[in-house]
Symmetry: D2
Subunit: 419 residues, 4 copies
């Protein structure tokens, strides 16, 4: 398999191609094949962008038909039939059953575009410029999103100062003794705290890049209460944890909160096609027409596949199947934690968004490489890259899940044996 072209012409910034040194070609469900025909189980799924598996036929077939019929592909924010259909099914299949009421903004189709729009809207609504963001957060690669991200290596990127961001401690940071919500409440209420009142608090319910740190329902409820008390907009960046990843559509469903703004992307299109939306509680929808824009905000092929994805959530069999898979995965991870205590510290995450906190970055690196050799794709996260992310498609078949977990088990054993 020829990779010379990449070495010669692709920027040094390329990364996954280096850790998975092969050339991929086909993919169905949880399996992906390289040019040589070797299959891999995918527990990485495009960093959470393929929750419904590769080329899910219920999602891709409508897209093929749409193209064959010569329908409009790119439409800016003109009205199209495909967009109207998506809005209807999103409202009917996702929002209404949960009793949620939001207006939908279509920004540029990437997660960072959505977060930038959300932050801009919160700043406009409140007339305040600073925002609060958490330790170990990650929100994207454009300047506004970089600014609110927690990792030093990420924030350095823009090369300019990160302004208007106030860093606050996440649930359990720096340790479980510390009442982070109480601290946030204190500094918001004290005129001498030296902290400007922010436009918004932005958070992930599970900090995927930050090491799979998980907020409790009680903490999320308390943060929403504090935001409302101090008239601060609560933004949930549900780009990686949402769109089904935890086993429910929104990652905050379990906490029964209704954030002021919710950002979705990654798995939203169901197909891997770029799409993002910003959900806005109606009283906050103070945009002027055209005030925020983006060329690819009208990606109609993605509307078609996203609509097909949403319909899955009206199917009780689908939901029951996801639930079963979740239970199975959690059970097996508990087993691995018990089996490899010298390698794994503890389990992290929630539902199908799981992580294994390991003893060191070196351990994780070896497990990653052995797994790849044996046909499993995984990735690491956390400031010290010592957490294995386990993100199978939520539609994964029992066979694929068993096979993937077996390879992981094997890799953990081999690395322990000093392989």
């Amino acid at each position: 398999m020829n990779t010379d072209v990449f070495a010669a012409y692709e920027s040094n910034v390329r990364r996954y191609g280096r850790s998975f040194p092969t050339v991929f070609k086909k993919a169905v469900g949880a399996t992906i094949w390289d040019e040589g025909g070797k299959p891999y189980i995918d527990f990485l799924v495009g960093s959470g962008s393929l929750n419904y598996g590769h080329n899910n036929p219920k999602i891709i077939q409508p897209a093929i038909e749409y193209l064959v019929e010569g329908n409009i592909i790119l439409s800016l924010d003109m009205y199209t039939a495909a967009k109207r259909d998506f809005i209807e099914v999103f409202v009917d299949s996702i929002l209404k059953p949960k009793g949620l009421s939001y207006r939908i903004q279509f920004p540029g189709p990437t997660g960072t575009n959505a977060n930038e729009a959300a932050l801009a809207l919160a700043r406009k609504y409140t007339g305040r410029s600073s925002v609060m963001a958490f330790t170990n957060s990650f929100h994207g690669m454009s300047l506004g999103s970089l600014a609110v991200s927690g990792a030093a290596s990420t924030r350095q990127l823009g090369g300019v100062a990160r302004h208007d961001v106030i860093r606050i401690p996440y649930d359990g940071y720096p340790n479980q003794d510390f009442d982070s919500a109480g601290y946030i409440d204190s500094i918001l209420g004290d005129p001498g705290s030296g902290i400007e009142k922010p436009a918004a608090i932005i958070l992930e319910t599970i900090q995927a890049e930050g090491g799979m740190n998980t907020a409790s329902a009680a903490w999320l409820t308390e943060i929403q209460r504090i935001c409302r008390k101090h008239s601060v907009v609560l933004i949930v960046d549900d780009i990686q944890a949402g769109a089904g990843r935890t086993g429910e559509f929104f990652s905050f469903d379990f906490a029964k909160i209704d954030p002021d703004i919710v950002c979705l992307s990654k798995s939203l299109s169901g197909s891997g096609s770029p799409l993002s939306i910003v959900l806005i509680r109606p009283h906050l929808d103070v945009w002027n027409p055209g005030e925020h824009s983006g060329t690819f905000r009208g990606n109609n092929l993605a509307f078609v596949t996203a609509g097909a994805m949403c319909k899955l959530w009206s199917d009780s069999q689908f939901i029951a199947s996801v639930e079963r898979t979740k239970t199975k995965l959690q059970g097996h991870l508990d087993y691995l934690v018990a089996k490899f205590p010298e390698c794994i510290e503890h389990k992290r995450g929630r539902g199908l968004m799981a992580g294994l906190k390991c003893r060191s970055q070196a351990v994780v690196g070896r497990v990653h490489d052995i797994a790849f050799e044996n046909g499993l794709l995984i990735e690491s996260s956390g400031p010290n890259r010592d957490v294995i992310k386990v993100l199978p498609p939520i539609t994964i078949s029992d066979d694929e899940l068993d096979h993937g977990l077996a390879i992981l088990d094997h890799a953990l054993k081999e690395q322990a044996n000093g392989h």
Copy 2:
């Protein structure tokens, strides 16, 4: 045609749906049909994102085949066969014939993602934080791109201060008597000028959103000379003007410059599917692996269609046809300028990226509305929105072009008659 869903659930930020109050469905070449079957000639082409027409069969057919075969759709920056094919054809069909040597970065798939990556790289390479940007520029909607944009209404958006940006006068600003390049050279060389040495100068060769202001070849050459003299990175944001829009692939081909960094998006995929790249002169490619990322940087469907688009530029008949269309358009616009002096001040732009500077925003508004009624889509630009943008597909058929220009002629006449 039912638009209630948009009014009920889409954010107030929607704009084109308001100015074109219908629901679009199918589209081929330069023609787009609404649900009721009414056709419109498209001189807007997704703000320059559909230079090769809607659903161009040479571009879309390979995409349909790719999907039908179950190939991989989203791949982060793993190596894939589709990406390798795109890189090869881009190098062979576009770069090599022009004698250009660049390495290719795939950031998130929108234009603003590309500009943010370019600015971050220039800052990293030089170790400097500020950048120079021009009056009336537009570079995108995320915070780093907003900061370098010229329009007050755009920059206000983020609600935070726009830092590290030094504003400099574009070619011909504030008037033709002023030697803007000489001024820039002066302030870069004077330790008392009060201007920090910037990491980069970022420019568009034609300021589309800024009113179709056009830089001359001499001025572009001089700016590149000044950048090299003072060791400042030259970034050309070729997102709207590039990928064929002016009639050549890069909008700066006519000036025979080789900018340090070039950003492409919009029409790059040929199909309207989101894609962007950053071209980097090899010595500037100082990224560390994984230092910049983005979920949708591996949009393989767009690689397939972008490759098909690139191949067109190896076809001399295609190039000759574009040349003919360019000449025809320019000739007809000259005719309109002469025919409607009370309405049009002068022509702007270059090649197939043309504009008509009108006497007022009101004139443009009326022409827009009459044209829409009669089956033509156009849009306005400029700080006072008094410029009509004329952006037909560069592959438009003679019949479609004639028909579109006839509707425009009619609309200009009607508005002059106080319609």
Copy 3:
């Protein structure tokens, strides 16, 4: 007494003239007379700028002689005999007996000039741009000092964003259960904390404007240890608490620390003449010649009086007398706290830098006004202005102290009686 001139021509910003509506003329020791000849005991002493009393003859007599002899008054940073004499006595009487080794910078003569110089030097030395500052801090009125101050009303002043400042919790903030030093240590050591490594931590050992909050010796020692561990410069802003205010020359003498940079001003000249210095541990003295300047950094009259002040600290009788006064003041304040529990919550501060935390701003306002009527000047502090500052000259006579405390006792009683 005519105050019309002030109303007609002085800016609305004037404040003390409004709360003490009379015109002052003469002053000796702890007593100040208005034009009508009415005496007032001064427990405000220029917000800590007249620790050695008004017109202390040991300090003022040398100044008069200096002027009469026609010696140089303003000298920029040229070498003068007066400056040399000051440096010698400062080193011999203050630094050497404490075993401290510092180099001396003379910035502009105000406290904020000193803090700005200290922050600039720490940034230069470390190459980092941000600094850590505490809740409820106050460091001055120029932009760099405003930025690090904690009170919202102060920070708003510049009207621009306060950049490069990271706010951290002071000793005992938000409550005694919280290990603020431990939290600071955590976020400095964690690459995912979202906090840039700062150039410096700047602190007051007693937050005078912030409400007379007092740091313990243990906490100060721990903060110095954390700074050294993480290579962060420790700046003590000893402008109000230093130069003798607590009863020792430096406010941090009791904690036996040796901060990297110390800023002194206010009472440093002994006379009320503007003077400030920055003390720099020798390895940190990385200034280039002339890199920091200020017209009035050579205020020779202040050098003369500052030298006379320093000599007092070589006099054991002087030191014993200050010690006695300190004990007496503290004892009497304890008595007042016990006597007026419905008005006073508790005592704050340390040594001769004392405060009474009252139940409300209204209580303090009434005590202030009754005290003024009866011949005592005091002021309030804290974010809610509910703390009475008690700052007599440290050289106050027993009679004056008794008289001042009697007026305060009377005012507390009167206000309790609803006067």
Copy 4:
């Protein structure tokens, strides 16, 4: 003369002590003596802080009497008799004869404190955050003042980004062909210029540190017109050029403008004692009581000497004498320009604020050293330090002026001779 103490204990930042390696002691009028008794003519006068000479008896005698009588020295902004007297004489002797109406703010006593207060007030009044400042400007050493200064070496100082400052070209920058006022008018009026509307334009009428660049009356008048047209506050930093330096009290008297805010310091006290004021057109005096403060804003000794200085301007003989001295100085400098063309390019400045633009920094350095040896103190300015500043006391005697100019003539000759 022993300078060991300075080498051992004063920070490396010291500068004038290095270029004038002696120890000064006494000073009267334009003459200053070192410890060894050697006299020097002073054409540097504390960078414009001793316009009325050293120890001017009309100014110092009242100060000595004030001290001897035991009057109050430091009073914050309480009302004092000395402050009232100063306000009265400033209004009667300075403002009223010129028909000017201002309210007076007393900030901290240094020039940079005054500029910071002026910028803060303009930001508060307009609600805007950015300010415009000129190429080659200098406004002080605290962060807000640094930000608006033009020299790269100065701005680097704070080590943090210089925000909210828009740099604009001064009169004659980059060359006389360029209509800098017209350019400023253009960018303020154009919504696409990319320039935020600023709170203020801050300027010096002669840029002393910037190289003695001089604005014309026509340009100053035009800038004031542009400011009023666009509702931008005009701040004149008259710290070095004002208080008599040019031969009139305000440096802008000759242009007959009335700026919105004027900052004075340096020679304002007449004696070299630190004092500064901010003059505010009454409608702009929107400060709240106590909103801006500063410990040493009540420097009563400086009020006494400043009042004595102001009275001089009611004396027609004094004014005539200054006028004569001005004519004499200008005539002699013209003579030197003509005599040493290989060394001097041209004369700069205005009135008694004069400069000689030389061929190189090396020339100026040698002239400086030879002059010092022969008993004359001068200094250089400009981004390339190739301008000799000639700032004699405006009260200099004919003998002293002749003597100083003779030494300068000699030094120019010697350096030309390769001395």
